[in-house]
């Protein structure tokens, strides 16, 4: 091998030294500005000192609120359920539907023998399991109140609630007639009033975890719940999502949404 053959990566190659040197200088300069100089201009204890400045500019997670006061507790109990796609997976994946059917005998007088009734209670047949489970947990924790549901759930354990949810989710839905075109509030909401379309979470267009399927629920039930959200007497919606929406809806819009989902039945 000829020792005089020019090499690309070599201190004697001016192209290499110039480009690598200039980039190194640029990097060191921008790092100094970004990690030392600019943070030091912050008038905040967390940025004081070289190490603090560098760590904060690097985005190292730290207890920013360590010295702040603890969060203000809510006036009324709120939902403690954490909704995740895998929340109902786990120990009893198999066989829980049958057990849920046995437990559901206590529910039949209001919710019907097969999850459908004319008692102005929610129709549970075919409802999403996470939605049922969340409401049951909220009744138990006091986040949602009901003179009937709370005593019915006394003594039921977490596995019982999971089995009940699985059972009702497995029941066939009441056969739905052809849905008539959705009114504006359901299809488009009202963006300037922060009202998302009902359909974007509750079915027809898209579904979101924890949001119940609303089609063919009793009109009285839907209307009363929207009004309860609007007035704040129902408060188990996570992050106040439904309260913020319902509060901005007009009575006409509440009627239109309820009528659409019940198909005027």
């Amino acid at each position: 091998m000829n020792a005089d053959r020019p090499r690309l990566i070599s201190l004697r190659n001016p192209w290499f030294t110039a480009s690598a040197g200039a980039l190194s200088l640029l990097f060191v300069f921008s790092a100094w500005v970004g990690f030392v100089w600019l943070p030091s201009a912050q008038d905040d204890a967390l940025f004081k000192g070289l190490l603090n400045a560098i760590c904060s500019a690097a985005g190292a997670p730290r207890a920013w609120l360590g010295e702040a006061s603890p969060p203000v507790p809510p006036k009324a109990p709120v939902s403690s359920v954490v909704l995740t796609p895998g929340m109902l997976e786990g120990a009893s994946a198999g066989g829980s539907i049958g057990r849920g059917a046995t437990l559901a005998l206590r529910c039949t007088m209001c919710h019907g023998a097969r999850g459908v009734s004319a008692a102005n209670t929610p129709n549970l047949a075919g409802q999403y399991a996470p939605s049922i489970y969340k409401e049951l947990r909220d009744f138990q924790s006091g986040a949602r109140t009901s003179a009937i549901m709370v005593p019915m759930l006394a003594g039921l354990g977490d596995q019982d609630l999971r089995d009940l949810s699985a059972y009702y989710a497995a029941l066939p839905r009441d056969s739905a007639p052809e849905m008539y075109p959705a009114p504006d509030i359901v299809a488009t909401g009202s963006p300037m009033r922060n009202i998302a379309p009902c359909e974007s979470c509750h079915g027809a267009m898209a579904t979101k975890l924890g949001a119940p399927w609303l089609a063919l629920q009793p009109r009285e039930y839907l209307k009363s719940q929207l009004e309860a959200f609007a007035g704040g007497s129902r408060h188990n919606d996570i992050s106040a999502q439904m309260r913020n929406i319902a509060r901005n809806m007009t009575p006409d819009e509440i009627n239109a949404a309820a009528s659409y989902y019940t198909q005027n039945r």
């Binding site: 020019p6 090499r7 690309l8 990566i9 190659n13 192209w15 290499f16 480009s19 690598a20 980039l23 640029l26 990097f27 300069f29 921008s30 790092a31 500005v33 970004g34 990690f35 600019l38 943070p39 560098i54 904060s56 500019a57 690097a58 985005g59 190292a60 997670p61 909704l83 995740t84 796609p85 895998g86 075109p181 959705a182 504006d184 299809a187 488009t188 009202s190 963006p191 300037m192 379309p197 974007s200 079915g203 267009m205 898209a206 579904t207 979101k208 975890l209």
Partner: protein, 540 residues
Amino acid sequence: MISNKRLVLAHFWLAFAVFGLAILLGEWQMFIRSPLHGWLHNPDLYYRSVTAHGTVMGYVFPTLIAMGFGYAITELSLGQALIGRRWAWAGYVMIIVGSVAAVVPVALGLDSVLYTFYPPMIGNAFYYIGVVLVVLGSWIWVALMGINLQAWKRAHPGVAVPLPMFANVAAAYLWGWTAVGAALELLFQILPVALGFSNTINAGLARVLFSWTLHAIVYFWLMPAYIAFYTIVPRAIGGRLYSDTMARISFALFLVFSMPIGIHHLFADPQVGSGFKFIHSVFTAMVTVPTLLTVFTIGASVEIAARLRGGKGVFGWLKALPWDNPQMLALAFSFVMLGFGGAGGLINMSYQLDSTIHNTQWITGHFHLIFGGAVVIMYFAIAYDLWPHLTGRAMRDLGMIRMQLWLWFVGMIVTTFPWHYVGILGMPRRMAYYDYSAPGTSGEAISVIMSTMGGALLVVSAVLFLVILYRNHSASRVEPAPFTFSRAIHEPSSLPLALNGLGLWVGLMIALTITNYAYPIVQLMGLPDARVPAVFVGAK
């Protein structure tokens, strides 16, 4: 002489066919969210359309152009038949299969996640698998470009690598490395969730990985246009390239500075530290160097052409330029759009100024002006220049070509200028409908209508373009003169090692990726509580 004409034509025709379909979707989107149409009662249709439009225009169309043009450059500039012809066809087939696999679930409403994926939103796995196939198909091209260059260099020791091939391989290596970010995101973050192995995702990490791809991909789209600036336009207008060295340095600097800057897309993301945002902002500013080098070099090359044609005076030479030549016209339009788009880009890349326009329609206006305008108009110019050499037939519709380029230019300005304006007014992007009756937003209505009209001009221009190419296939046969690239004033006889290969610049690109990305990525990988529940999209 192109020996694999069918291969190049197949890439170009497929690219322009999907472009023709996707532009219709784009105009439909402009129309549907304008005051000319009532609110869309199924907004998901809009998001399906946006996803398909972005996937086709962002991944499939420019990749096919770069590939087809790259194969043509290999044979034309190296004077040798393409090595790996079967592999090239295999890559082409993979892109077709991938595109179909991606677009079908999008059309079914299973993947309305937009082409930037937006985790924690997760759609049907076939969409992501399709995108991966498109990337894998294009990696075959990356490898072939490197192999062909190495084979030529072995056969021609000590001879200067032709500029077009140098630039072409720079584009290939840029794409090869920058696509790694999105590939890592798809394979290790999104697909495990889409396939059901996990139902939580580290969304912050996924977004950082995508930013690795998201900005350099723009320079990959840009590369064919820049290659045309340097190697086609000066020849086509009867001039000389002002400096071969300057051209090589520009492409080398694009390679180096395209990569370590993607976090400027994440200025509003909380999971990245402000120090890294600042560094990426500084390196983004460095992209102005190769850009301005190019503007200067091409400006000088054009002036040479004008003076050779008898142009006189400080500015008087502008009149002597061949303005009826489509290449001249395309270059001028491209530079005007690049100028406005680049000026807007300076605002996007500034850590502070960005906050005024982040996630507004300004951004959509910006990348349509740069990519759809400055870059795609050069794709047209490339096609016009190459077509007679591919079909062996005369390109005689010069009047139609000029009309098409004018329409594209005017259409793009009319589309994007009001688009920028409503962005400054605060109009958010990615929405299917807007309440133009509200007092705060009613002033935006007229601008949005103007944009829609501009979009209609673009559709007309695209149709005209496809007609011109199609008509050429039945025009009279000619034996075109051998294809040549621009010649520089000083043709390089021997080059320094650094400018006769890409080793140094690829090395610097990877080194800067490590300095600018390693810490944010490693830090986010190590955060135990950074995983969030996936949000599954798609109608049930």
